[in-house]
Symmetry: C2
Subunit: 432 residues, 2 copies
């Protein structure tokens, strides 16, 4: 007997049916915005990550040398791959490029609630426009995904910030600050206590007084305070951009889900503009459900023409925690329209009935064993069959079948001339 | 600029939309039989393959040591994984267990037409019944998949055989034969010339005369000749089983797609009963499109209760070659219901229209750039928009929008009271 690897999951049919329903809803919602599905490899050259990405990813990579002596890595995220794809066909692709995909990724990290070594994400990205409308469309599409799953503004919020506000505020300080380190400190600020947070800021180069003032101004409700604090064009432009994005979310019907939260920094170093994270308003899902933002420099860093970009990666594991907390996770159960039960030598007719019902698009199981009536009925119950079609030798002598409603146990004979139907999905009730 | 790895593929939206349509059809067809989707890991312990599987797989594995010093492998096929899953929950699962899944697998092998290092399969399996009806249902479901894609009996055939016929015939010979080696020789027989084939049989232990007689009897049209040649219970039982499976395919509506072909042996060593391969009747796809069969010993070999099993792995790469050859591969193109074009400061109304159209389930793009009329129209053409909804300042003064049919170029104003509609997907023609 073999074990599954730690941090990897097997999904049996009940759980999988709920996951499939959720994935279908996510994809259906983003398709409506004109995002187009792409397919991407599970392996990439390791250098694609080691050259550019943040250290946190590299440490967690599944890397190895393949049989052709290439250093390869299991993809830990989608963004570098789609950046590579954009660069490879940059001239041929009409802008804006709007792509999505759902697939697993892999990171060797500590397994915990909502975090696995193999994890599924739906990534949604727009390349080729730096207009605030693009950032807002990503937020609106993400909101539509969540409301499509049955969640509401009382269940989740998007905490929105802008990298240039944090970066610009830090840059405006007297001290020589390691901006990336300071932003990483901000990103952690909600998970650690104030003393530790301020210490991380000081390690990043801030004077202690600057750290306190910086921390304080991030708490403001008035974006003009930030412009005044920094007094730089960079912060002024960032605030203007953030406001323009929020204005566009108003037009797009997603403003109600967004709040400004300057502590939201996103861990990845490649973000350049607006960044956001989705949180559970009830706080039961303790960490960010998912996040995204603008990354205008990545394509150029990959050797392409300068190409602004913005996107979101919707992690299914944390999303399922949120859905479960909010009571909107689908039932984890099988669904079967008909079980066609044979008694005696009736397979030919039973198979014909099953085939006609399947041609109407229904889920139909037939007897694939040597079982008798009771045992078949018990199996039909186990697969949650709505209707059992009994095809007995006696029924066939009457030119009929017996329809049995599995919920009530009621049954009646129906003439073969009336069943299977030409269309529809009739049950016992339709004939009774 | 980074390169994609050899044997791995990027799927851009046009090609991906065709692939998605095909995958949806495949899955829809097998769902109708009551096959239930499962989700499985991309990595497994390497020993799961090295302990049991045929050498051909092991040589092609992507294996490495993970950061926890485990020997792991990228899954080269699904069967060992689902066998592991069946063993892990054997008591809880009602039999027959009917599972399917679509996902990539990985083998480090020579890249050629229809063969990649990362390749997609839909696997469909039944565990827990050794009835011929189960083998026949796998054949019938596979046939429904192909006819669902638009293929017909003139496009493909299932060549059906039985491992115990080959094995039993070999066993009945005077010589001491290496059965697995001889079956591998049979599996190769159509790809090599007769002399080489006979030589492989001789290497497997057959006398030269036996090799010729064995080769000859495999060509017979009458299954009774096989029973007579071997004169053993094993071959008699195998022939009886094969006939019973073919009889069941008759009831299930799939007999017309099946022909008996005893040279069909399937390379994998774990097959035990009926085996089959799908071939292109036009011969343009030179190798087997896909194959499957019965593997009654695998679950027990994995430490489970004896559990008969039968399944098929539908490879998408060769299937797409067959579909293309037969002219049924879907159009590789984008599809967009509406592009909502803004002229002037009309985003608020345009966004509202887009949102209402999306709520009806349509694919709707809006302007995410600073572009003018002509440039937006050109983009709408590029995404194959059926209808452009022009929301100009002048239109709004008239309480109207302009609908433009992109195929004809015709356009007309429609009152905002009539568009967007309450339901449906109206185009220019519906108002003209």
């Amino acid at each position: 007997m073999y074990d599954r690897l730690k941090g990897f999951r097997d999904f049996y049919p009940g759980e999988m049916s709920a996951r499939r329903e959720v994935t279908d809803t996510i994809e259906e919602r983003v398709r409506r915005y004109g995002f187009r599905e792409v397919g991407t490899p599970a392996l990439e050259r390791t250098e694609m990550y080691t050259d550019k990405s943040g250290e946190e990813i590299v440490e967690e990579l599944y890397t190895f040398e393949d049989k052709g002596s290439r250093n390869v890595a299991l993809t830990p995220e989608l963004t570098p791959t789609v950046a590579r794809m954009v660069v490879a066909k940059q001239q041929a692709l009409a802008k804006p490029i709007k792509w999505f995909s759902t697939r697993p990724f892999w990171r060797y990290e500590q397994v915990q609630q909502g975090r696995f070594r193999e994890f599924y994400q739906t990534n949604v990205d727009i390349f080729g426009t730096d207009e605030p409308a693009a950032d807002a469309e990503i937020l609106a599409a993400a909101a539509d995904v969540l409301t499509g799953l049955g969640l509401s503004a009382s269940d989740f919020e998007f905490r929105v910030s802008h990298r240039d506000i944090l970066g610009g505020l830090l840059e405006s300080l007297e001290s020589d600050v390691d901006t990336q380190a300071a932003i990483r400190a901000v990103d952690k600020s909600e998970k650690i206590d104030d003393a530790e947070y301020h210490e991380l800021l000081v390690e990043a180069g801030l004077e202690y007084g600057e750290a306190e003032a910086f921390d304080a101004v991030l708490e403001t409700d008035d974006l003009d305070d930030l412009v005044e604090f920094a007094d730089t064009e960079r912060v002024e432009a960032a605030v203007e951009n953030l406001r323009a994005v929020l204005d566009a979310t108003e037009d797009f019907g997603a403003r109600e889900f967004c709040s400004v939260s300057l502590e939201t920094a996103r861990g990845l170093d490649y973000y350049t503009g607006v960044v956001f994270e989705c949180f559970d308003t009830a706080g039961e899902v303790s960490r960010s459900v998912f996040g995204g933002g603008r990354y205008d420099d990545l394509i150029e860093g990959f050797g392409g023409q300068p190409t602004p970009a913005v996107g979101v990666g919707i992690g299914h594991a944390t999303l399922s925690l949120l859905c479960q907390r909010a009571g909107v996770w689908p039932e984890e159960e099988l669904r079967t329209d008909y079980y066609v039960l044979t008694v005696g030598d009736t397979r030919e007719v039973a198979s014909d009935i099953a085939r006609k019902l399947r041609d109407l698009g229904h889920v139909v199981e037939v007897n694939l064993t040597g079982r008798g009536f009771g045992s078949q009925l018990s199996y039909a119950d186990g697969i949650n069959a709505e209707t059992v079609v009994v095809v007995g030798e006696q029924d066939l002598e009457d030119d009929a079948v017996t329809l049995k409603d599995m919920a009530s146990g009621d049954q009646m004979q129906v003439p073969l001339a009336e069943f299977p139907p030409e269309s529809g999905r009739p049950t016992y009730d339709d004939y009774a």
